[in-house]
C-alpha cells in the first residue's frame, strides 16, 4: 500500500516537474528581441531624444556663460573695475592705463603729515583724480580738481586719439591751442607720412584750469577713437617740502640772529656759524627749486594728442624688418597679456558662478555614475511573501 503511494507520488512529482518545465518553455519562433532593442537604442528616435537632452544642456550652458559675461560687462560699465577693460585696450593705451592706475592718490600719507605738523589743509573726501573714457561712451566731464591755489596739487595728464581725413589741418589746429600769455606751450610735436599713412603727435602743456575746455575743443576737431585722462596728486610732496623749507628758513633766521647778537665771538666761531648758514641757504634754495618745479608741474596739464588718418594704419609703417619684428613681438605680448588678463578676470570674477556650476557638475556626474553602476549590477530579486 505504502509502495503504491510512493509510486503514485513519484509519478505525480515527475508530472509536476515536466509540467513546470513545460510552463517555462518558449514555443514561439525566433523573436530576435535583441535586434528590436538595438533599433530602439540606436534608431532615429533614440538619437532625437539624446540630441534633445544635449541640446538643452548646451543651451543652458550658453545662457549661463552669456549671463556671466553680461554681468561682468555691466560690472565694468558701472565702474566696478575701472580702467580694466576699454574698447581697444592694448599697446600704448595699456601703458597709459597702467600709469594712470599707478597714480591713485595715497591719502593716508597726507593724513600722517597733518597729524605730525598740522601743516596741510584738509583734503576733500570726494577728491577724484582720474577718469577713463572709451570711444563707445560719451565723453565724461572731468572731475573738479583743485588747483594749487586751493591747497591741492594735482598733475593732470590726458591722452586723446583722433581720426580725421585731414591730419595736417587737425595738427595745425592743435598747435594753435596753447595760450602763450598763460604760459602754455607745445612740449613736443611731430608729423609724418602722407595720405592714408599720415600720423601726427602733439604734446600740449596747458593750464590745469583750461584742461577741460582744451579737451572739448579737441573733441570738435575730429572723431575720437580713444580718450583717457588721469591725475597724480602731489599735495603730499608739496606739503612735505613746504614744511622742511619753513624749518630750514627758521634755522637760517636763528643763525643770523646768533651772528648779530654775539658780536664778541671768536673768529673761529663766527666762521663756523657762517659755514652752517651757507649750508642751510643752499638747502633752502634747492628746496625752493623743487617746490617751484612741483608748482609748475601741477599748474600745467599735459595733453598728448595722437592724430591718424581715417582707416589708416594704427602706427606708421616700420622702417626696417627689425622694427616690424619688434612691433609684431610687442603687439603679440600685449595681446597675450590681454587674453590672459581677460581669462583671469573671467575666472576670478565669475568665481561664485563657477563654484556653483562645478559643484552641480560634480553632483550630477557622481549621481550619473552611481545610477549607471546600479543599473549595470542588478540586485537579486526581493522575493515577495
Amino acid at each position: 500500500m505504502n509502495n503504491q503511494n510512493l509510486t503514485d507520488q513519484s509519478a505525480r512529482d515527475a508530472h509536476i516537474a515536466a509540467s513546470l518545465a513545460d510552463v517555462c518553455a518558449w514555443r514561439a519562433g525566433d523573436t530576435e528581441l535583441w535586434n528590436r532593442a538595438w533599433d530602439q537604442e540606436h534608431g532615429a528616435q533614440a538619437w532625437w531624444k539624446r540630441g534633445r537632452t544635449w541640446g538643452l544642456s548646451a543651451a543652458a550652458a550658453l545662457v549661463l556663460v552669456s549671463g556671466t559675461v553680461v554681468w561682468r560687462g555691466m560690472g565694468v560699465a558701472n565702474g566696478i573695475a575701472p580702467a580694466a577693460i576699454t574698447a581697444d585696450f592694448r599697446g600704448e593705451r595699456v601703458q597709459a592705463a597702467r600709469k594712470a592706475y599707478a597714480m591713485e592718490v595715497d591719502r593716508g600719507y597726507a593724513d600722517k603729515v597733518v597729524a605730525l605738523g598740522g601743516e596741510v589743509a584738509r583734503v576733500p573726501a570726494d577728491a577724484q583724480v582720474r577718469a577713463t573714457v572709451s570711444p563707445s561712451t560719451p565723453a565724461l566731464p572731468l572731475q573738479p580738481v583743485a588747483t594749487p591755489s586751493q591747497d591741492r596739487f594735482v598733475v593732470r595728464r590726458a591722452t586723446m586719439e583722433l581720426e580725421t581725413r585731414d591730419v595736417h589741418a587737425v595738427f595745425a589746429k592743435c598747435s594753435l591751442l596753447p595760450n602763450a600769455a598763460l604760459g602754455e606751450f607745445i612740449e613736443t610735436s611731430s608729423i609724418s607720412g602722407d595720405g592714408d599713412e599720415a600720423r601726427a603727435e602733439v604734446t600740449l602743456r596747458v593750464t590745469a584750469d583750461r584742461l577741460s575746455s582744451v579737451l572739448n575743443e579737441l573733441r570738435g576737431f575730429a572723431t575720437i577713437t580713444s580718450e583717457q585722462s588721469g591725475g597724480q596728486d602731489i599735495t603730499d610732496q608739496v606739503v612735505d617740502i613746504d614744511a622742511r623749507l619753513r624749518n630750514e628758513q627758521r634755522i637760517e633766521q636763528e643763525l643770523l640772529a646768533l651772528l648779530t647778537s654775539k658780536k664778541d665771538a671768536s673768529l673761529e666761531d663766527v666762521l663756523r656759524v657762517q659755514q652752517e648758514l651757507s649750508r642751510v641757504r643752499e638747502q633752502i634754495e634747492r628746496m625752493q627749486a623743487q617746490r617751484d618745479s612741483l608748482g609748475r608741474l601741477a599748474s600745467l596739464a599735459t595733453v598728448l594728442v595722437i592724430i591718424r588718418h581715417e582707416g589708416g594704419p594704427q602706427q606708421p609703417p616700420p622702417n626696417s624688418f627689425k622694427e616690424a619684428m619688434g612691433r609684431a613681438w610687442s603687439r603679440g605680448v600685449d595681446d597675450l597679456g590681454g587674453f590672459v588678463g581677460g581669462a583671469v578676470r573671467l575666472a576670478v570674477g565669475g568665481l561664485p558662478v563657477w563654484v556653483v556650476v562645478g559643484a552641480g557638475a560634480v553632483v550630477a556626474w557622481r549621481t550619473w555614475k552611481r545610477k549607471r553602476a546600479a543599473m549595470a549590477n542588478e540586485p537579486a530579486p526581493r522575493l515577495p511573501g
Binding site: 513546470l20 510552463v23 518558449w26 532593442a37
Partner: protein, 187 residues
C-alpha cells in the same frame, strides 16, 4: 542522390563575459557579440518571463526586450560580481515582478481580472491554475528550479540565497502544489 544537410552556424567559443566585453568595447563586431549572447539566452529568458507572467507572451517579450535595452545601455559598466547569465535572469525576474505588481494594482483599482491578460489555455492550464494558488515567492522558486536554462546552483545564485535554502523552499512549494493539484481546489 544524397541530400546535403544545411550547414549549422559555427558556434562561438567565447564565454558570455567575453561576448559582453566585446559588445561593450565595440571591438570584434560588437553587434554580432550581442546577437550571439541573445541566441544563447533569449529563449530561456522568454520562457521564464512567460511562466512568471502567467503565460502572457506579449508581456514576456516586452520584459525581455527591456532586458536587452539594459544590456545595450549599461553593459559597459557590468562588473564581474556575478555571471552575465545571472545578471540577465535577475533583470528579467525583477522586471517581471514589477510588471506583476503594476498589474495587480491596476486589477485592484479596476476590479478583479479586468486589465489582467488571460493566458491561452493549454494542456498545462490546470497546473497554471494551481500555481496561482501559490505565493509569488513559491511560484518563482518552482519556476526557476524547473526551468531548463538554470541548474539549482545557478538558480540559488540568481535569487541570492544559499543552495540549501533554495532546496528546502522548493520542497515546501512542491508539497503545496501537490496538495493543490490533489484537492483540486483551484477554480
Amino acid at each position: 542522390m544524397e541530400q546535403q544537410a544545411p550547414a549549422r552556424p559555427v558556434e562561438d567559443s567565447r564565454s558570455d563575459e567575453e561576448l559582453l566585453r566585446a559588445f561593450a568595447t565595440g571591438r570584434h563586431n560588437g553587434k554580432e557579440a550581442l546577437g550571439e549572447l541573445a541566441r544563447r539566452h533569449e529563449r530561456e529568458l522568454l520562457g521564464l518571463a512567460c511562466g512568471i507572467l502567467d503565460g502572457d507572451r506579449d508581456g514576456a517579450m516586452e520584459v525581455v526586450q527591456d532586458a536587452w535595452v539594459r544590456v545595450i545601455r549599461y553593459g559597459a559598466g557590468f562588473r564581474a560580481g556575478s555571471s552575465v547569465r545571472t545578471w540577465l535572469y535577475r533583470v528579467v525576474i525583477n522586471r517581471c515582478l514589477d510588471t506583476r505588481k503594476v498589474r495587480s494594482r491596476q486589477a485592484a483599482s479596476n476590479g478583479k481580472l479586468h486589465g489582467v491578460p488571460q493566458p491561452a489555455r493549454t494542456d498545462t492550464s490546470s497546473l497554471q491554475e494551481a500555481l496561482r494558488m501559490l505565493t509569488d515567492d513559491q511560484r518563482l522558486i518552482l519556476l526557476l528550479c524547473h526551468h531548463r536554462g538554470l541548474t539549482h546552483e545557478q538558480a540559488a545564485d540568481v535569487l541570492g540565497i544559499p543552495l540549501g535554502t533554495l532546496k528546502s523552499r522548493q520542497h515546501a512549494a512542491i508539497a503545496m502544489l501537490r496538495n493543490a493539484l490533489a484537492n483540486g481546489d483551484h477554480p
